[in-house]
Amino acid sequence: MAEQTQNSTRRGFLQQSAAVGSTVAVLSASPLAYGAHTGVDETLRVGLVGCGGRGRGAAIDALSADKNTKLVAVGDAFADRAASGLAAIEFDESVADRVTVDADHTFSGFDAFKKVIDADVDVILLATPPHFRPEHLAYAVEKGKHVFVEKPISVDMPGAESVASTCEIAAQKGLSIVSGLCWRYDLGVRETMRRIQEGAIGDLIAIESNYNSGTLWHRGDKPGWSRMEYQLRNWLYYTWLSGDIIAEQAIHSLDKTAWLMGDASPVKAMAMGGRQQRTDAKYGNVYDHFTVFYEYEAGPSVFFTCRQQDGCTTRVDETVHGTKGKAEILAHRVQPNNGSEWRYDGQKPSMYLNEHIEFFKSIRDGQPINNGHYMVNSTRIAHMGRMAAYGGKTLGWDEAVSSVERLGPEKYGWTDLPEPPVAVPGVEATA
């Protein structure tokens, strides 16, 4: 039997230059004292808030991205999740020796985030359900921490407004804010975007954007769980916790369309949506499909769909139509009308790891990254789509972003929170 070198000529190993960092917005040129890690080889102390699957992944990515880091504190609303989350991180042999979280630094409860942030950390990873993000981010920036912040950054417009203000403060303080909109850190997507923006398919006419996928997990119900606990453990299915599927999952697609539009905001949206497959009460109040037509002042329209239904055709990508051809973003394909198709042949390192590599480098170099503008804009675009679908009426941007409706209870506690109703367009637009 002949031996074979590992994937010696596969596309992933072909050499091609990729513009690393070219799309990262650097807002602050003169970091103040908070950018205290500039050029220093000191150990960066990392804290994790939200110990679910994604939080654990972010922690391992952070520790993998910069070898002179330690995970020193974790927090979760639930003590069992904090403990099992920590165990799962330690289960990764490549980082386990830099996980130094003892029982005194494993926090639970709704105020666990404060305890993690106050535990003498330099870097905070925010990975709770999105509802809590604005409050957590504000506290982290107030305390002068560099933050990795998962998407979406809020579940409502007041939350997005809060995050926008926090990001301005972070810029003034010279703190890095890196968003979990990870496709911005994917080398293949960056190169595809660059070619489109350089005119490979001419002027853009329209973008068809789809996040049509299957259904996701459900963690069941248990005797003894308050309804608050049930909702939190199954947070995907509650608009007040997740922002619905359009924000929680499909924001990746909306973010790519926004990127194509130069991170401008649409002027209006007409939308529809509902729930056809996930009608059982256990699925809370979120929809299982949306269609949104976003209209921009100038340039192409965005025709967007997202779906979480089983047994249906799936598609997750953008088809970008231009005056001189078309392109697909995740497939990394650019097809001019006159000319041969281009496909990305370069390296494909993990975008989840790459964003942490750039994040930690920005801290080390004193060149803070601040993804505030686009993470707020893309989250607002998602909320605008949800509000237009729930309400059943065409919605203008100014009207949408000025919404003062805050989703979720005023106070957090293990109480029997009522089940929120499902929005009925044109009748009861309850979010």
């Binding site: 994937n7 996701l216 997990w217 496909r343």
Partner: protein, 369 residues
């Protein structure tokens, strides 16, 4: 008859060995391929998956003495293969979906409180893969039913063979490396050509519907390309033996760690000169899970462009081991794999555990929809 072949036939009469009936003819077929074993004839046959209008085809492969070169030492040894059937093609999406969809089915069984897995019946339970979070990494070549199923881990492929076995009552498993290569050689060791191989230069970096290329002499398609196929063996050194098994089992270089394991048979992403029957490809689970954002990363799926040419095909031996021995072919062989699967199911609700028996299709009709 050589002494070794006589020994082989003697081992086939050991007690505890189950004899396959499906695909066995008592009379010599007047046409078509067959493999004669001790007065019976193993023949090609179609199998319909119970509860689904999905079929696959198995081709009989003769046993015999096979010369094997150790990839590490170059040492040549002789092994005995018992006769078996192997899939004419790679397992397709149409077939794999029947297993994949069980995650949603078992979830509904849990809601209805039926067919619950307990410590007593867990030996007959499988784990069903978590639902696809982002199909980008799975359906790059499309989701047509006749495309080969791809991106699954070896553990998922093994659980598939457990599901199919417990559902049908027949014993299916992954091939051993020697079995795979013996079947792919088909007595004439074909050279990869444009006519028989989907490879880097003619496949457009896409997998293609199974069975479009010319079959080998024993009727197998796509052994030389399209997707690389899981076999049971570890990649690297190790004894090529299965001393604990009853007679009729293949020699396997059993893995003791997660990777690398062996994948055989070129792919649509690989150059034609890496499509030969002898080529072994090492798995790289760490890289192939890089685009999985959640930890612990899926034990069932690889989320990476580079794993979209990973598939498998089925084997069914003529003489099958006893029931308790079969789990060695189906279940996690490294404790870490099972630990991660249990964590994903019990802590995260991603993936499900469920019982499989011939009544499963009826239960799906009653409760699962």
């Amino acid at each position: 008859m050589t002494a070794r072949t006589a020994l082989l036939l003697a081992t086939l009469t050991l007690p505890g060995v189950a004899w396959a009936e499906l695909g066995v003819s008592r009379v010599k077929p007047s046409e078509g391929r067959y493999v004669e074993v001790a007065g019976v004839y193993l023949v090609p046959h179609e199998v319909t998956i119970p509860g689904a209008e999905v079929t696959f085809r198995m081709e009989p492969i003769p046993g015999g003495q096979v010369m094997v070169t150790d990839p590490e030492t170059g040492e040549v040894s002789e092994v005995i293969l018992a006769p078996y059937w192997i899939g004419r093609t790679e397992v397709t999406w149409a077939e794999y979906w029947q297993y994949m969809n069980l995650c949603a089915v078992f979830e509904r069984f849990d809601d209805a409180g039926v067919r619950q897995v307990t410590s007593k019946n867990r030996v007959d339970a499988i784990t069903a893969p978590s639902k696809l979070y982002d199909t980008t990494f799975t359906y790059d070549s499309g989701e047509e039913p006749d495309l080969p199923a791809v991106s699954m881990t070896q553990y998922a492929a093994k659980q598939y063979t457990k599901w199919l076995s417990l559902l049908t009552g027949e014993f299916y498993r992954l091939p051993s490396e020697v079995e795979w290569e013996w079947a792919a050689r088909a007595g004439e060791s074909p050279t990869p050509t444009e006519a028989n191989t989907w490879h880097e230069d003619n496949a457009d970096y896409l997998t293609h519907p199974v069975g479009e290329k010319e079959p080998n002499a024993w009727g197998l398609c796509d052994t030389l390309g399209n997707v690389s196929e899981w076999v049971l063996d570890a990649h690297g050194a190790g004894p090529l033996a299965d001393p604990d098994g009853p007679g009729g089992e293949p020699p396997v270089r059993w893995p003791t760690k997660l990777f690398p394991r062996v994948l055989k048979g070129g792919s649509a992403y690989l150059p034609i000169d890496e499509s030969g029957v002898a080529v072994r490809r090492p798995s790289d689970d760490e890289t192939w899970r890089e685009y999985d954002p959640n930890v612990p990363k899926s034990p069932w799926w690889f989320a990476h462009d580079d794993a979209q040419d990973i598939g498998f095909r089925l084997v069914r031996p003529y003489a099958a081991p006893s029931r308790d021995r079969r789990n060695a072919y189906w279940d996690a062989d490294v404790a870490r794999i099972q630990k991660v699967a249990d964590f994903r199911i019990d802590e995260e609700g991603r993936g499900e555990r469920g019982l499989v028996d011939p009544d499963l299709p009826t239960a799906i009709q009653q409760h699962g929809r």
